[in-house]
Symmetry: C2
DNA sequence: TCATAAAATGACCGCTGGTCATAACTAACA
DNA sequence: TGTTAGTTATGACCAGCGGTCATTTTATGA
């Protein structure tokens, strides 16, 4: 009988519902200000139960971030096989990222968190975590498009595609940071967000053309 | 009589010595793992005294970061008035940043921290803090050099210098991040750090040339 | 209905950032 | 020098947190 299968499904459901709850609280109060008791209350479970599914608050945070990354990846899948040249696709990718950032600011926040983890201070046992994060990171899509561009001959081949892709992704993260946090620091009230984004993309992409 | 002056000096000295102690502990254990008692012990003061000079652990961290920023700024001052063209100066600036990153990894870490503060979650009363940080930020030097470049006609003028400068600074922060944390994530063992840096600079700067 | 295992609970713990009543020290004057 | 007013330093203390675990509750299968 499929009892154990059902149990497994239910366990996953419960895990998911905890992530749901954590998302709500993290996104509204911020990660640091959120307590495990908050999440327990929101999920209608006891605190102890949370620790049956996640081994720490940070672990739960990572789960939230991984889900965010999956959402972002879903928005961009299929792009690589579209009938455009690679640079246009990179442009589209950039637009997708930006609209994601606007639509899901909380999710974006969590992605920025995992992408800036200080791996030096991570215990060695967590090496696999690095690989999981990297494997799922949206930078993969960027790299694929860059490689396409090199094949098409419209992206410079004198610099390693890995470096180019990382630069583009870094730039994307920087733009997120900029739009979300630091916009007010600059005295550029006379430029719209969209305009700024176009400028950014133009600036960044003009460096990679062959 | 200069009694009160001497007192003021001594207060500043004490403040400085606390920052010294905090640096040591932060840089060796990391910010989160450091307790105020650690710093109290290192500074040979009681915990209560620390709170006479800094109103919170984060405040102390900011003081450490501001000192780091000052060190970095000192390394680059005078660059603007040198007899090179602006793009060469930007290149030099990049090299200076990189060697700073290598020489003072702890200081760099603290700078990355303040540069990525989530200002949305900062109370309004701390608006001045934003300005202080921005005013001291090394991005100022970048902006000055970009403006020089525009005047010289070697940097494109169709995009606002503010955006260009921010892109370059963002890129610098991203490169720091990359070198320090994520290098191992990429399978590019066959490229030296210096080579990678040169590629990076070339890539970034080629986008800003007019 | 009962026995076994799995899941959930919440009282509890140790540690941390931060506070505050008290103490120690300093400086100026009588 | 003794007194006093003000400043600086102390460390016992607190509340809140992440995390644990002995106990209870629930689900399963015969």
């Amino acid at each position: 009988m499929g009892t154990s299968e059902r149990k497994k499904r239910e366990k996953l459901k419960r895990r998911d519902s905890i992530i749901d709850a954590a998302e709500k609280v993290f996104f509204s109060k911020g990660f640091e200000a959120t307590t495990m008791d908050d999440i327990a209350e929101q999920s209608e479970l006891s605190k102890g139960t949370l620790y049956l599914y996640f081994k720490s608050k940070e672990d739960l945070h990572l789960a939230v971030a991984m889900r965010s990354i999956k959402i972002l990846n879903r928005l961009t899948e299929g792009l690589a096989s579209q009938a455009q040249n690679a640079i246009d696709k990179l442009n589209t990718l950039g637009h997708t990222f930006i609209s994601f950032a606007k639509q899901y600011p909380g999710h974006l926040q969590s992605i920025l968190h995992v992408e800036s983890i200080d791996f030096r201070q991570l215990s060695l046992s967590k090496t696999e975590l690095k690989h999981v994060i990297f494997k799922e990171s949206p930078v993969r899509m960027v790299m694929e498009l860059v490689q396409q561009g090199v094949s098409e001959g419209i992206i410079r081949k004198d610099i390693s595609p890995g470096i180019i892709a990382n630069m583009l992704w870094t730039q994307m993260l920087g733009l997120f940071q900029f739009v979300n946090f630091q916009k007010s620091l600059f005295e550029m009230v006379d430029i719209s967000e969209d305009e700024m984004f176009e400028n950014y993309m133009e600036l960044v992409l003009s460096g990679v053309r062959s």
